[in-house]
């Protein structure tokens, strides 16, 4: 059990650093397009502005419209607390905590889709249907990646899985997990966060009928989810447990920045994939993680 101070510092770190990531992504996209783009701290300004606004709720919606985002946010922050931060370990560590993390991500998805269906709009249904359908494939890929980490290190605790060295399948795992990151966070090529066309929306469609503080909570939760996946990808590949504490922290921070810039570059260079081709890409991500699992299996058996 960690001390209360450590818990508060860890929480503050996650909550305050998370909105930086979408800002960095947008800045990279702007740079690639030859624009100046919004300031890196834009999401912070947006969140504080939204927090003070009033709420317009659809007449059809139950209190679940407001409760849904809140529950999703708590689930995401709890998942973030479970994730080890390099040498610091997770807030609470026990055998099987990685499965609690996956379940918390699923709970966040459930509540976001629920809040989308609350308003009784066509777009909400569309966004929710696409989100939960694609999540089936990305969940298979994520569990395969976690299984390969577990088989490689022989441990079922997040601390043990993520701090030991990366195995022979590190490149495959990185590629597969990066693909899952793009899918779960609704980035190009799965979803375009800047689109205005309903035909191309997933995440945007789910947030259409929210306003004010609930919308701020949804946006912040999305950035926390991006940070969770960026940290997961970095820790799955880098052997942070072997380095001394300061070097490991610096390596983690550099790697998260690298992943974020990578997301920005992918968003600038690729176009959104037609929805009927998304299963192909997610199946490829699943196969990448599967081959990483088989390499991890082979690596230990020899």
């Amino acid at each position: 059990m960690t001390s209360l101070l450590e818990l508060v510092v860890r929480l503050a770190l996650w909550l305050l650093l998370a909105p930086l990531l979408p800002g960095v992504v947008n800045k990279v996209k702007a740079w690639a397009a030859g624009r100046t783009g919004p300031p890196v701290l834009q999401l912070y300004y947006d969140l504080s502005r939204l927090w003070g606004k009033s709420v317009v709720m659809s007449g059809l919606a139950s209190p679940g419209l407001v409760a849904g985002p809140a529950i999703a946010w708590v689930a995401l922050v709890a998942a973030a607390m479970l994730l080890p931060l390099g040498p610091a370990g997770g807030a609470l560590s026990f055998s099987g905590d990685v499965l609690l993390l996956v379940a918390l991500l699923a709970a966040a998805r459930f509540c976001t889709a629920w809040a989308a269906m609350e308003a009784g709009s066509a777009f909400g249904g569309m966004g929710a249907a696409r989100e939960v359908s694609f999540a089936v494939l990305s969940e298979a890929a994520l569990i395969t990646a976690i299984l390969s980490l577990s088989v490689q290190t022989g441990s079922v605790v997040l601390d043990g899985m993520l701090s030991l060295s990366s195995g022979p399948g590190a490149v495959l795992l990185a590629a597969g997990l990066f693909c899952v990151l793009l899918a779960e966070n609704c980035r190009v090529p799965f979803d375009d966060p800047n689109t205005h066309l309903e035909l191309t929306m997933i995440h945007e469609a789910m947030a259409l009928d929210h306003s004010g503080p609930p919308l701020a909570v949804i946006l912040h939760g999305a950035s926390v989810k991006l940070l969770i996946f960026a940290v997961l990808v970095s820790e799955a590949v880098l052997p942070l447990g072997r380095l001394p504490a300061t070097e490991a922290a610096a390596a983690l921070a550099a790697s998260v920045a690298f992943v974020t810039v990578g997301v920005g570059l992918v968003e600038s260079l690729l176009a959104r994939l037609a929805f009927r081709r998304v299963p192909l890409l997610l199946t490829s991500a699943f196969l990448l993680c599967l081959f990483a699992l088989l390499l991890a299996w082979k690596g230990g058996a020899r």
């Binding site: 299963p279 192909l280 199946t283 490829s284 196969l287 599967l290 081959f291 088989l294």
Partner: protein, 213 residues
């Protein structure tokens, strides 16, 4: 040496899956070309000492499989004016999954075969079996003639890989002969594709059954 070998063959197996998943024909041709280059490097890697003949054959293989044959295919594609495989027999996701299953089965099968100890730890046999299976999937499951030609060439890559097991016994002249055959074959295919396109206004090989009685 073993590690570099395994890395190259691993890349070739990955390119198999890339070829299975792409619907754009230029991507399939490029995957097949890169696979040829990678496999052309292999004899140079396998031979511990530097041999002029081996290096020459390697360079010629890379040139033919990586540059000549793909350019012939690209010319044929431009003449026939096709870019995509739209509706294959075996869909893209099923063929990708089938290819993955085939790769895993090839590794398992290679375990059971009685190989020499120097070959038992490498990915030579699994890689070759996987490439052969991928080639067959492309030959059977695709509809456009160019995809089927690429499948045939991947099949040839697999057989070539298997032949590397016998690298010390087979004269490299035989390998060169096979290479020449391939080049001429693809050259002829390029001409035929043009003719098929002119006769049927499409490269859909199902239309070729119109020639039977």
């Amino acid at each position: 040496m073993n590690e570099t070998q395994n890395l190259l063959i691993g890349m070739a197996m990955g390119l198999n899956l890339l070829a299975l998943g792409s619907s754009r024909l230029p991507s399939v041709v490029r995957a097949m070309a890169v696979q040829g280059v990678v496999l052309g490097l292999l004899p140079i890697v396998i031979e511990a000492r530097f041999d002029w003949l081996v290096a020459l054959v390697g360079v010629v293989t890379i040139a033919v499989k990586g540059v000549v044959i793909p350019s012939l295919l690209r010319r044929a594609m431009r003449a026939a004016n096709i870019e995509r495989e739209i509706e294959p027999f075996i869909g893209f996701v099923p063929s990708l999954l089938l290819g993955a299953v085939g790769t895993i089965a090839a590794v398992a099968l290679a375990h059971e075969l009685p190989l020499l100890p120097e070959h038992a730890g490498t990915l030579l046999v699994p890689g070759s079996l996987a490439s052969i299976f991928t080639g067959f999937i492309l030959l059977v499951g695709r509809v456009k003639a160019i995809s089927q030609v690429c499948g045939y060439l991947i099949l040839e890559n697999g057989i070539y890989l298997f032949g590397l097991l016998l690298i010390h016994s087979t004269p490299l002249l035989v390998e060169s002969g096979i290479l020449l055959d391939l080049t001429v074959g693809v050259f002829v295919i390029g001409i035929i594709v043009d003719r098929i396109q002119r006769a049927f206004d499409s490269l859909d090989t199902r239309k070729l059954t119109a020639l039977h009685e």
